[in-house]
Amino acid sequence: MRRLIIRRLLQTIPMIFFVSLVCFALVKAAPGDPVKTFLPPNIHQADIERIRHNLGLDQPAYVQYAKWLKESLSGNLGYSLVNHMPVTKQILDRLPATAGLMGAAIALAVLLAIPLGLAAGSNRNKWVDKLVNLFAYIGISVPLFWLAILFVYFFSIKMHWLPSLGMHTIGKKGAIDVIKHGILPCSVLAISFLSSYVRYIRSGTISQLKEDYVQIQYAFGSGKRTILFRHVMKHVLLPIITLLGMSMGELVTGAIVTETVFSWPGIGSLGMTAVRGLDYPVILGITLFSSLLLIIGNLLADILYGFADPRIKTTR
């Protein structure tokens, strides 16, 4: 087990390096000149060159990359070209809003997906299954932004039940206000996660129920419910660990669309603003940050999987 963890940790290092290279290359390859975006059109060419030089943009790409990587590793992701604030600070400032929203959405999705998926999988082709499937398909196919707008229209504009924008009511403080603001974006995100989780759990349940050991459990007097909860559930939940690891990256950036529609002051909307304003350091910072989280998420998932599945512990 320890060897597994050490090996996985070592594998992470070249991966992080490679990811940073790709992030950097993508931004470099993107069209548009960052310098020209921020300078008035009537500026002198010599001034442009001077600014370029000051920013280090006249140096070869590999030098730029090396400098960026060195600074990034020490936690300095540079400064925004728009508001000149440190990128690291901006990301960390917005992290709680995003992590709270996404964490709640994922937790809600998992908690609902387990019973729904088990119910659907164990009642294959019966009405429960068909109903769950129908909603899962809708949840997967409907674009998030549309669902978000629909929610705003119905719950905020028509029914006046919930606020549609932001995280706080101006002048109000306290957790309850934040939760009220969070319900709509959280529901929209939860629906999207839930739909894919349910499909995984459903198909896992169906395939497990076909296994010999399940049939044999019947021969030892187990009822359907016992088999489902004592035997099948553990198998079905194992892949969810991987799925959760994968959503670690989304935990910070997956909410770009939803955060933008609901004006949730998280990393997603920060990224959206940065993209609109060609704010390279911020884009790069967020991309790197979410990639890192994805790698860490996968690492954690692998290690957790090793603890949860006895068949992995003993294999080297």
Binding site: D212, Y213, Q217, K234, L238
Partner: protein
Amino acid sequence: MTEQLLTVDNLRVSFHTRAGENQAVRSVSFRVGAGDTLGIVGESGSGKSVTAKAIMDLIAAPGEVLGGEIRFRGESLRGLPQKKWRQLRGNRIAMVFQDPMTSLNPVKTIGYQIAEVLRRHKGLGKEAALKESVNMLRKVGINEPERRVHQYPHEFSGGMRQRVMIAMALSCDPELLIADEPTTALDVTIQAQLLDLLTQLKQQSDTAIVLITHDLGVVAKVCTRVVVMYAGMVMEEGTVEDIFYRTGHPYTQGLLRSLPQRGGANRERLVPIEGSPPDLIDPEPGCPFRERCPYAFEKCGELPPMLETEGDGHRSLCWLLEGGKRTLAQALEERGEAAR
């Protein structure tokens, strides 16, 4: 005559397939007395396993039990509510299956899986059930049971896993154990060990065993009575001696001839049964074996009844035995035919 533990009468099971109704079991009847060891022999597709599953009410769609009566200690099992079944299965009637590699849940410990049965049926607490699981593992010959009980199925070999399955099946001291080809998936040396184990455990308790196998050697080794099945029907029924020495059916004779003889100094060739079993979708009337039977005559176009032959409760489904108790060999001699 011993008290009948299990009686199966006219059992019929079909599978509704796209090609039509596959009559896997058509009219199977037999009896198991308390403490008996009954062997059910037959080739693949003869309906042995389906019969076993039908006894346990484990036939799932597209299969269906169409008719017949199954009685356990005089009580009818047909149409028993599921709740009653759950109290019966694994407790009074237990079953061991063919493939030990897939029989156990791979993510639960061996101890958990044995203890679960004990907790359900014997109402034992967690600790007591685990303790009893250790005892059961020791009983079936697993070394260091205290340590092994906490291991997972993948840490056991095939033979060891089948021992675990036997431990699980016998944990509640059932009155009837159905073993469906328990040694088929294992290699020969392990087979012998497991059969020894079964006979030894059998002597310690009065559990009756229904042993399903395609191996007559296994039958000779452990069984007291034998049912020979072919194409979903019972061809012959009798004691092991009846079946081996007073054979009453050409199919049984064919099976025996395809078996290697010990000490065959004259290097006797094995004689296979020519042909293949009939299609069970829309089977033709008459004796199911007549296509392959070397002695078939006109009357075989009609289904023969089970006829009494030489021996105690020895019966055979063959027209040759009509008109008086005698063995197949005697009947053939009478007709002036040599055994073919």
